[in-house]
């Protein structure tokens, strides 16, 4: 039984909400036009060529945040592309916000690859209800999801006790230096192999994983003190082509 529900490009918040209300569904994917057909493709291509970074919008509108990026990286160029990308981010933020009453969308733009994303994990927030929307632009591989009962909790807990702090350090190192993961973890071939293949010792059945279509928008559950999150990981295919990722988190405590 699939854990991933597919929705058409014109799906709205109500469609996503309905599918995510089904506990068997871990994530929804919403079709999106390929990057080549997007009016902002040149901006995305330019971002892909620039050094990797992460920008949290922190209350700035998408327009303001993209203007900041363009000022710092491209001498303010790509005005029309920025406007159309910002409008699309606004639309998706509104869609995501409609999933959680009272939530203000937290938006981030990320162009570097965090190797920690290659390990199955759940995202976490302190609020009691939360979802995350991901919109990858120019990434070859779609996010993979699996069901919680496909993860052996004992082995997963032990694996993460050992690996989580090491993965956080690896992410920081990659962001800071841009050094290849294969070099930084050359002394850890077994862990590197698991990241390459997705075969981790805690996965019960490797066949029970679903991949979001490359380029599609996806929404998954975020773990909260009141709810389980969706286990997901990135694909090794994204390792050398992280593209641009728009990350929108919506979280709130019910009134």
């Amino acid at each position: 039984m699939t854990a991933l529900a597919s929705l058409p490009a014109d799906a709205g918040a109500e469609d996503a909400r309905r599918r995510l209300a089904d506990p068997a569904i871990e994530a929804v994917e919403i079709a999106a036009a390929p990057l080549d057909a997007q009016p902002f493709r040149d901006l995305v291509q330019a971002l892909k060529r620039a050094p990797g970074f992460r920008l949290d919008f922190r209350g700035q509108t998408p327009d303001e945040a993209l203007a900041l990026v363009a000022r710092q990286l491209f001498a303010g160029a790509f005005a029309a592309e920025r406007a159309s990308l910002a409008a699309e981010i606004e639309r998706l933020a509104a869609l995501a916000a409609a999933l959680v009453e009272g939530a203000r969308p937290q938006i981030a733009l990320r162009t570097y690859f965090a190797p920690g994303d290659l390990v199955w994990h759940v995202d976490r927030v302190a609020e009691r209800r939360a979802f995350r929307l991901l919109w990858p632009l120019g990434r070859p591989g779609g996010m993979r999801v699996t069901q919680a009962d496909n993860i052996d909790p004992g082995i997963y807990g032990a694996y993460m006790r050992r690996e989580h702090p090491l993965l956080c350090r690896l992410d920081t190192e990659v962001l800071r230096t841009g050094a290849p993961l294969e070099t930084l973890w050359a002394h850890r071939p077994a862990q590197l192999a698991a990241m390459t293949t997705g075969r981790f010792p805690f996965i019960v059945d490797p066949a029970r994983a679903w991949s979001v279509a490359p380029g599609a928008i996806s929404i998954h559950r975020v773990a909260t003190p009141a709810a389980q999150g969706t286990f997901h990981c990135s694909s090794w295919a994204n390792r050398h082509a992280p593209g641009v990722q728009i990350v929108i988190t919506v979280a709130a405590d019910p009134a």
Binding site: R124, A126, G157, R161, R162, H164, L166, T172, A190, P201
Partner: protein, 312 residues
């Protein structure tokens, strides 16, 4: 037993600390454990690391202190988080994990349970850097220090998470930091141990034997009921075992020689104040005392051992 100074507190602690995780294990032979504690405390080990919530370890230690009489050991206490979490989490507020009132109650209870007048140290375990400015833990521990109920304030870092302690060490607010430091995880040597020296902060190096993984022990799985049975899941156990064998082979040593080598490795860093090694058997105590007596490893051995890190 050589003594080292616990940072700016000036307290002289033995370079080996009795680690007590094994004392809390189900199925422990209480007579053997009592013998091990007595041997340690009678052989110059004057410092004990203890989770305040570990009632079995607390009662074994209390009994040993009462039976021995005389000067009580320095107790490095790990406070109990009020929020259960598997990994350090910035989403948990310091005020929820370690509320000041609970820290005070637990400290005063432990003083009574152990029959000691002062704890050498209270540490917040699974430390998150965000906690430095959160909650009322610091003012509570400062008051307890002022009242003479504790001598020092510290944080204890989650396994392999040394970067989490950098700000705390540099802040001047803590007297001591506890971290994992062993042949597999040598990260502390790069930044935090030198920083401890600069700020005169004590450093407790724990798990020098990687929970027993740096010994012949991993030839067999751990029995059910021992937390390590889950921690060393099959591929982890096999990889750790192979890496431990590789260390011994690289120095032409039998694998039985590994615990002594691993202990001396941890003791070799000059910024390490004391090495907390888990001991619940008299033969382990005796072997570890003998290893410590041999002193630090020669520089060229340390150089060769640097290549065996894989958890940093």
């Amino acid at each position: 037993m050589r003594m080292r100074r616990l940072g700016r507190t000036g307290i002289a602690v033995s370079e080996l600390t009795l680690g007590t995780t094994g004392l809390g294990r189900p199925g422990l032979d209480p007579a053997e454990a009592a013998q091990a504690v007595d041997l340690a405390l009678g052989s110059g080990i004057n410092t004990v690391e203890l989770a305040a919530a570990d009632r079995q370890a607390v009662s074994i230690l209390a009994e040993a202190i009462r039976a021995r009489g005389g000067a009580a050991p320095h107790v490095l206490c790990r406070a109990t988080s009020r929020v259960a979490f598997d990994l350090p989490s910035p989403h948990v507020h310091a005020g929820d994990a370690y509320p000041g009132a609970a820290l005070r109650t637990e400290t005063e209870q432990l003083l009574r349970d152990l029959g000691v007048e002062r704890l050498a140290l209270v540490q917040l375990h699974a430390w998150c850097p965000e906690w430095l400015d959160e909650g009322d833990w610091l003012e509570t521990l400062l008051s307890l220090r002022q009242e003479g109920k504790i001598a020092a304030i510290g944080v204890s870092l989650f396994d392999h998470d040394v970067p989490a302690g950098l700000d705390a060490v540099a802040s001047g607010r803590i007297d001591c930091v506890q971290l994992m430091y062993n042949l597999f995880d040598q990260a502390a040597a790069e930044e935090i141990l030198p920083l401890c020296r600069r700020h005169d902060v004590g450093a407790v190096a724990r798990s020098p034997l990687y929970f027993g993984g740096l010994s012949p022990r991993l030839a067999q799985p751990f029995p059910a009921g021992d937390w390590r049975a889950a921690y060393f899941f099959d591929s982890h156990r096999r990889e750790t075992r192979a890496r431990a064998e590789a260390i011994a082979a690289s120095l032409g040593l039998p694998i039985d020689a590994l615990p002594a080598l691993a202990l001396r490795f941890a003791l070799s860093h000059p910024a390490v104040t004391t090495v907390a090694v888990g001991m619940h058997r008299p033969d382990h105590v005796a072997a570890n005392l003998a290893a410590a007596a041999e002193g630090p490893l020669p520089a060229e051995t340390l150089e060769r051992l640097a290549g065996h890190r894989w958890l940093s």
